[in-house]
């Protein structure tokens, strides 16, 4: 059996009738379909928060080459540390995810869909293949879906091969094309030039499930939840020093303090919002709201209890980035190593304020000049931990020499 536990709150997805969204969506013209999605103000659930309807609009308008197709790709490369909501969604609500992909295909005029499943989730592949077979048998995939002549769409599963950077949409596409997962120059964007140079929409697992929910219950319903700029409900992956780790659903704009009280982490010293590429917030910031306009996140919440050495937390994050950087561009490939070295110097008490200042400058360069989001956000953890916990980091003694007490 595959790990099935993980939900800590009921999920709205459980109350969505599978198929309802697709049925409603197929009654609309393409333009109206995208307009309805726009009305929901749904933003991408993978972390970047790009307005989904805008993405679909661009792809719908893009031209496809003679004899080629447009593509809908579900980004199931969930690799952000502390994120596992997509694991639960794929195991329990794959039908909604596939439904969302089908609605996307209808909207942009795609004929082929790809579920890019990270290698580490190989254990759920058979289950997902079985779901696809069922859908084909039920006429939900294949030709003339929902009785709509000309609406042909099918989904194939492609496995990742173990690279966090392939969660970045252009690196994902490079991987699909048989290349090293090195992000592309943008512009052009995948909605215009994507997989095999054709217009491609890449959406997160949760985004696609949310699409199915939105069309099942209406954009207005979705928009009424959450905040003005971050509509809808959000799945949070909570782990670390808390009593009840797991997947939670909350509306956007819940405060960190509220979340901590729900998960049994009220004595937390700090919370990492948004995974390794997110921000570390000390207790003084727990009044902030989890939303795109405040503390933005793809849903990863890692709780650090009172005893945690924050420098070692920073070190773990930087080791992650050093391992996972694709290596293509100078600031990320080399900058992450320098930041890790800096942390090791701090561990030994050998980092001067002056050099630390240089590293902060390097952080800015990485955030500005890296080729993709990995290098642009890898300094975030370093910076936020340095700023939030400077007193416990500076002036450490090196490991005592033999004979010293």
């Amino acid at each position: 059996m595959i790990p099935r536990d993980g939900k800590r709150t009921p999920l709205t997805f459980e109350s969505i009738t599978p198929g309802a969204g697709l049925t409603a969506a197929l009654k609309l013209s393409r333009a109206d379909l995208i307009a309805e999605l726009a009305a929901s103000k749904l933003r991408g659930r993978g972390g970047a928060g790009f307005p989904t309807a805008t993405k679909w609009n661009l792809a719908a308008a893009a031209r496809v080459q003679e004899g080629q197709h447009k593509y809908v790709v579900c980004n199931a490369d969930e690799g952000e540390p502390g994120t596992f909501k997509d694991r639960v969604l794929l195991l329990d609500h794959a039908d909604l995810v596939f439904e969302g992909m089908t609605i996307a295909a209808r909207a942009i005029g795609a004929r082929k869909g790809i579920l890019y499943l990270r290698a580490e989730y190989i254990y759920m592949r058979r289950l997902l293949e079985a779901e696809l077979i069922q859908r084909r048998e039920a006429g939900l995939l294949g030709s003339a879906i929902g009785g709509l002549e000309g609406f042909d769409f099918d989904i194939a599963i492609r496995m990742g091969a173990g690279a966090y950077v392939c969660g970045e949409e252009t690196a994902l596409i490079e991987s699909l094309e048989g290349n090293r997962g090195e992000p592309r120059n943008r512009p052009p964007f995948p909605v215009d030039t994507g997989f095999l140079r054709q217009p491609t929409v890449v959406n997160n697992v949760e985004t696609l499930a949310a699409v199915a929910a939105i069309f099942a219950k209406g954009a207005a319903w979705f928009r009424a939840i959450g905040s003005e700029q971050s509509t809808g409900f959000k799945l949070f992956s909570v782990s670390g020093d808390c009593e009840r780790p797991g997947v939670y659903e909350f509306p956007f704009a819940i405060t960190i303090a509220d979340l901590l009280s729900q998960v049994g982490g009220t004595n937390a010293k700090a919370v990492q919002v948004g995974g390794a590429s997110g921000t570390c917030l000390p207790a003084s910031e727990f009044g902030r709201r989890l939303a795109f306009e405040d503390a933005a996140t793809g849903g990863s919440i890692i709780v650090f209890g009172p005893g945690r050495d924050m420098l070692l937390v920073a070190k773990n994050f930087m080791e992650f980035f050093v391992e996972e950087s694709c290596g293509q561009c100078t600031p990320c490939r080399m900058g992450n190593v320098k930041l890790l070295e800096g942390i090791e110097m701090l561990e030994r008490g050998e980092c001067s304020s002056a050099y630390l200042s240089e590293l902060f400058g390097l952080c800015e360069t990485m955030q500005l000049a890296s080729k993709c989001g990995l290098g642009q956000s890898s300094p975030n953890a370093f910076l936020s931990i340095m700023h939030g916990f400077r007193n416990e980091i500076m002036g450490r003694s090196p490991v005592p020499m033999r004979g010293e007490r």
Binding site: G79, D86, Y121, R158, A161, S239, F320
Partner: protein, 181 residues
């Protein structure tokens, strides 16, 4: 008629090309199947695949060397991937790691001499709520403690055994009972 290893590999690659296609975008699925079959993407396999797909061997090597789940150097039959990212770290992966090294007599990055086990680190595998977690080939184990390591290894030896190549038929084990809070 004796079929030698290379001929077997040629035939397998032809089958994989039929299944996945002869284009560049079929490369990684083909390599993944080879990796699953052989626990390695060998020199011979890389050159045959390169030739068949019309790309350079160096490019195939570039792809294999990029991804954590593809190897050009032989790995053991069972590749153990222990997550070392923050949530598993905080939940005590260090002790699990130590015990794995004890039991197998190797360190991370190595394979046992009998070719049975390899120990690798993994970056977050998405089991943070049930940490520490590890993968063995296509199985995931969660809430692993140091004292469970021996049982896990034994399970591999017994359950996979002679049918290791046919992992699909094997039921995937779940976390051993009595895990975290």
């Amino acid at each position: 008629m004796l079929v030698n290893r290379q001929q077997r590999m040629q035939d397998l690659i032809q089958q994989l090309i039929e299944r996945h296609g002869r284009t560049r975008s079929a490369l990684i699925p083909i390599l993944q199947d080879l990796q699953r079959e052989d626990s390695v993407v060998s020199d011979f396999a890389m050159q045959v695949v390169a030739d068949e797909l019309g790309i350079h061997p160096a490019e195939v090597y570039g792809v294999v060397s990029f991804y954590s789940f593809l190897d050009h150097e032989p790995r053991g039959r069972f590749v153990i991937r222990l997550c070392r990212t923050i949530s598993c770290e905080m939940a005590g992966k260090a002790r699990v790691a130590r015990q794995l090294e004890n039991e197998l007599g190797i360190t991370f990055g190595q394979s046992t001499a009998d070719g049975r086990f390899s120990l690798e680190w993994a970056s977050c595998i998405g089991m943070c709520d049930q940490a520490p977690a590890l993968l063995v080939n296509e199985r995931v184990y969660a809430r692993v403690t140091a004292d469970q390591v021996h049982a896990i290894l034994d399970e591999c030896r017994q359950v996979f055994g002679a049918h290791a190549a046919h992992a699909e038929r094997v039921a995937v084990a779940v976390a051993v009972a009595g895990g975290a809070s």
